[in-house]
Symmetry: C2
Subunit: 276 residues, 2 copies
């Protein structure tokens, strides 16, 4: 394929559901000329409580689907899938691939002063100890304290973004991190930036929050630029710059997406991901 | 197949995950001679927020799996799957089938005095309005008020069975039911009996709670008896009276199962349900 047309291809982004839209939002902001094909696995959400084997099988199916959409790069916009499946899938595909974990780990290692970094995420991501592995490669003396916060996703999905119940749950989950004296906290699940304010309030202003969604979009831009794959011109109107696919509940997804973006999500297509 | 050997076959029971074990527990209590094959769809849990089409497809796959286990009857031990898929699946199979909704609705229609019945359940079950449909067939003048409680399942799975946070969330969800003056409340999700005490406390002693798990085991016994399918003798030791299958996380499932049963769950097998 010629370079010109390769640049024109979309970026594939996937997540277990709607959470990855916070990553899409950052990509739209930082590289607004790019086309995006998003897949949310709403029929099998959540991934955070499922096993490595299952999350990897699901991720492989999704990558096969995205390949049918001729994407030029793939972003795993889900921490659990990045933690469990990225290394395996990187072996299988030839296009550039990026998870949300490595960019988040890199920034945390850079900004910490006292070397104590907290990670909040799903059970799966915490059990994988993946943030710790990456951070250790960059900053050997760093101390990483992980804490699974399984109620945060349901609380966000119930819309309790600023609520005494969310405050109370945040205080319980985060107290161990406050006690350990961390100065940096990675929001290791794509839903968590949506309750960023509550988390910051509980942790106190002296703790720096790292949002891997932001760092991932930055890293993606760098990667595409390196490989001469950055889109030069914004697609003309009518070319479907952003396409959304889900495995279940297209209407519900569209409704949620429209609360996240200023851009109006007009069409979401449902596919049977088990066929890939 | 001869009648004797037909009686010896197990009962198939399925759910989206662990919740259906509360139904299994009731079956074990009420018809302790029966063999049971349980399937929990832990790789795709939860069903409560997913569409009718998807829940029906998943249920059909599970029924095909249970048929390979030569079950003599099938119990859908999941309210959402009962609400969405039972009628469709009943057309496809020849063995007796039972959901948890109809037995719960029947009891509620019988015990209500003022004719005002509340239903708490997942979004899917509430949207299906299935409890209202069944209750209306039995008691035309009854008034059914449904309320989705999406945070109850995550709270139960996080172990917050008796906790101020669960109290607070219960008060918010249930206030509309208290205001409407119901005298009967159906626990329309298999997880909810595990926070029965909190629900009773919030609703007050004058409200009668109906647990469909209990009613379903009773109805199953009646149905098997009618068709001369009740097991006569308890299986001899070593015949695997209870078998458990899941689509993900066998160890985690086994751990949870052992908190629900006195009977020790020794082995849980994992299968790939997408292949059925």
């Amino acid at each position: 394929m010629e370079e010109k047309s390769k640049k024109d291809l979309p970026i594939g982004v996937f997540d277990s559901g709607v959470g990855g839209l916070t990553v899409v939002r950052e990509i739209m902001r930082q590289i607004p000329k790019e086309r995006i094909v998003y897949f949310g696995d709403t029929a099998r959400v959540p991934y955070g409580s499922k096993s490595k084997e299952t999350v990897t099988r699901y991720s492989e199916q999704i990558v096969r689907f995205l390949e049918t959409q001729q994407v030029k790069a793939i972003v795993i916009a889900c921490n659990t899938a990045s933690a469990y499946a990225l290394e395996e899938i990187e072996k299988q595909v030839k296009i550039p691939m990026l998870g949300v974990v490595k960019p988040g780990a890199k920034t945390a290692a850079e900004v910490t002063v006292n070397g104590k970094i907290g990670v909040i995420a799903t059970e799966g991501t915490i059990q994988s100890k993946i943030y710790g592995k990456y951070i250790e490669q960059l900053k050997k003396e760093a101390q990483v304290i992980g804490k699974a916060c399984p109620l945060f996703v349901p609380l966000v999905e119930e819309g309790l973004l600023e609520d005494p119940v969310t405050d109370e749950i945040a205080q319980r989950y985060l107290s161990v991190l406050i006690d350990s004296g961390i100065d940096t906290l990675i929001l290791g699940c794509t839903h968590y930036p949506l309750i960023r304010r509550t988390i910051q309030k509980v942790m106190g202003d002296q703790v720096r929050l790292v949002n891997p969604a932001y760092e991932t979009a930055l890293e993606l831009k760098r990667l595409l630029d390196q490989q001469n794959l950055l889109q030069d011109e914004k697609p003309v109107l009518g070319t479907n710059q952003y396409q959304f696919f889900v495995s279940d509940g297209a209407d519900k997804f569209q409704h949620f997406a429209n609360t996240i973006f200023k851009y109006g999500v007009l069409a979401v297509k449902q596919i049977n991901i088990e066929e890939y």
